[in-house]
Amino acid sequence: MANQLEIRNLNVTIGDKPILKDFSLSIPKGEVHALMGPNGTGKSTLAKVIAGHEDYTVQSGEVLVDGVNIIGMEPDEIARSGVFLAFQYPLEIPGVSIANFVRAALQARMEEGETFNAPAYYRSLYEKMDLLQIDRKFTARSVNEGFSGGEKKRCEILQMAMLDPKYCIMDETDSGLDIDALKIVANGVNLMRSPDRAFLVITHYQRLLDYIIPDKVHVMWDGRIVQSGNKDLALELESKGYNWVKEELATA
């Protein structure tokens, strides 16, 4: 089906160890889904598998971007098909400035023969930097090098805004952020919400969801989704803790 990110019966292993077990989830454009769960249940694995990381082996299942299965595609092809992953731990790229980095990413998306409009690019970059309260001087700095945790996360959102993806996967974007930085990041995300875009917000804590209000909340446990609901589920989870999920599972 077009106009959604659809994960169908995904089974994924690292070595011989199963991580995702028959995982399924559909996120239509225009919606924000939150994926919650304790550490080690496979949330980050899901994000990396969708992005095409080679450490994971997909045993079976599909990930469909607007109806096209992306499993087996190269990470850059997947990215250009419209999937953006905001990393939990953004990498430092010494010697490559943010301006050149984003520019290279945009140029990779251009049609053949298309020319790069540098003035428009800088206008757009500066505008988004202002919005995310990133100092304009940062454009000349190497990607993430020497950035604080909060700066790295804001830089992820900046890239997300510049590359205009259809599906945004945000992996623990709230970790390591103080409340002010969290608000800035959430504001940036909220401004990007549109009927043409979907978000999968992966988080361990409910706090982020006070600022990015999800349409749906899923709880993940041991490689699959065990419960889905609206934003109230996140609140319930927060008050009862993940042990509640465990107990629910035990009694189910």
């Binding site: 850059d76 250009r80 990498l91 290279a104 990413a105 990779a108 890239q159």
Partner: protein
């Protein structure tokens, strides 16, 4: 132009024929007894010293000296059109304080410093002219540094025969803003060149010298022994950069030395791209307290090139700071050797000395050797060295791919990024961009 001084030089001498070389050396001699004596002594040293072998600790990991000196010769100046091509291509930088162009050891073009600098006593002259006009000024400094790092035989030959290159003299308190550019070209097949750069910066002066070594044809066989000596007076600022982009059929030796006096700031930066085998020795002597020296190098090794780098940071006085960063990227079957030593003398307390070698292996057949060393005889010091050798980080690559950047572009960006911190040390944008282009043109990722 001082062409008159050059006419009496013999037109040709083969490096394999000692009789011809002796005759050539004698044709260099003139009215300056101390220099004649120095050259004669150097010639004897050249003849008596053995060819280095790999058993010598200073030549560890270096490949065999498998070249035949008889294939190389000192030549006459090239024809006018060749000369003109070289001059036209000597365009790394336009905003300069002075420029010299040498083709096959012979002065081809000379833009002196302006009258203002001249009036302040700045001397920027071809070596041959400077020797005759300022013998007393340079007596204690010309060919005065010994090669401690292994190339003594080659430096002796250089001393006996070198006459191309420049003298840069900056009087007390004079600051020269734009760089002085010196271009050395090889243009004729089998030519042997001996470029020499002598920089004398007096107290509180400031100067910036750039040497560019290039061949007119990329496959021109040639032989080079270059030397650069910097004398940084008290409180002076001396910057010297070398871009070595000889043909890939060149055998190149370079022995540089910096003597840093009290509170001076010195920087050497070497960009190494050319040559079949290129040996680069760089020694720093910090003879008085409070000096601050940095040594940078950037090397792209490809094909079956061998870059052999030997460095020495000698802290002879207290409270001095030295920092070395040598970066090598290796492609194909290329080889690099980095051998660095920090020596802290017993009295050189409060020394800060650092040495870092980073090797980026871009091919499974490339070969990176690292010999970082410390010899510390004082105890109140901060000294460290680090050497890493590895490939492009796969996680960084994944991160870039996730942004939609194709693999080739991502790898290129990472490799170029690897060099940026060294390229950044080129203060002037024009030369920085030109050198960056040159570096990037070496890649075929």
């Amino acid at each position: 132009m001082p062409t008159a001084l050059q006419t009496k030089l013999l037109p040709m001498a083969s490096l394999g024929d000692d009789a011809q070389l002796i005759a050539y050396r004698e044709s260099l001699s003139g009215s300056i007894p101390w220099l004649d004596a120095k050259r004669a002594e150097a010639w004897d040293a050249y003849q008596s010293l053995p060819m280095p072998t790999r058993k010598d600790e200073k030549w560890r990991f270096a490949s065999r000296m498998a070249f035949d000196l008889a294939n190389f010769r000192i030549t006459d100046a090239p024809d006018n059109s060749t000369r003109q091509r070289a001059i036209d291509a000597s365009n790394m930088m336009h905003q300069v304080s002075g420029r010299m162009v040498f083709t096959d050891n012979h002065l081809a073009s000379f833009d002196p410093v302006d009258s203002d600098l001249e009036a302040k006593g700045v001397i920027f002259k071809p070596l041959l002219q400077a020797i005759h006009e300022h013998p007393d000024l340079i007596e204690s400094r010309l060919f005065a540094e010994e090669a401690h790092l292994g190339s003594d035989k080659f430096l002796a030959l250089h001393t006996a025969l070198s006459h191309s290159g420049a003298l840069v003299y900056v009087p007390k308190g004079v600051e020269i803003e734009s760089p002085l550019m010196i271009y050395h070209w090889t243009t004729q097949e089998g030519v042997a060149v001996f470029p020499h750069t002598l920089v004398i910066a007096e107290e509180a002066s400031s100067v910036h010298v750039v040497d560019i070594f290039q061949s007119l044809e990329p496959d021109l066989p040639a032989f080079c022994i270059a030397a650069g000596n910097l004398y940084a007076g008290p409180g002076s600022h001396v910057f010297r950069k070398c871009v070595q982009n000889w043909s890939h059929e060149t055998i190149s030796f370079q022995a540089d030395a910096t003597a840093a006096r009290r509170d001076s700031t010195t920087q050497t930066l070497a960009v190494n791209l050319g040559g079949k085998r290129a040996r680069f020795e760089n020694q720093l002597r910090m003879t008085e307290p409070g000096s601050h020296a940095t040594m940078y190098s950037l090397t792209v090794a490809q094909g079956d090139q061998e870059f052999d780098q030997r460095t020495f940071q000698s802290h002879e006085a207290p409270q001095a700071v030295s920092d070395l960063l040598y970066k090598n990227a290796l492609l194909d079957r290329s080889r690099t050797i980095f051998s660095g030593m920090i020596n802290v003398a017993p009295d050189a307390q409060q020394t800060d000395a650092y040495q870092t070698n980073r090797n980026l292996l871009l091919s499974p057949e490339a070969d990176a050797n690292s010999l970082p060393g410390l010899e510390i005889q004082a105890n109140d010091v901060k000294c460290s060295h680090g050497a890493t050798t590895g490939q492009l980080d796969p996680e960084e690559l994944f991160y870039m791919l996730q942004r939609g950047i194709p693999k080739r572009t991502a790898q290129q960006l990472m490799v170029y990024g690897f060099f940026e911190d060294v390229l950044d040390k080129f203060e002037q944008e024009e030369i920085r961009d030109n050198v960056r282009k040159l570096v990037q043109s070496k890649f075929h990722l």
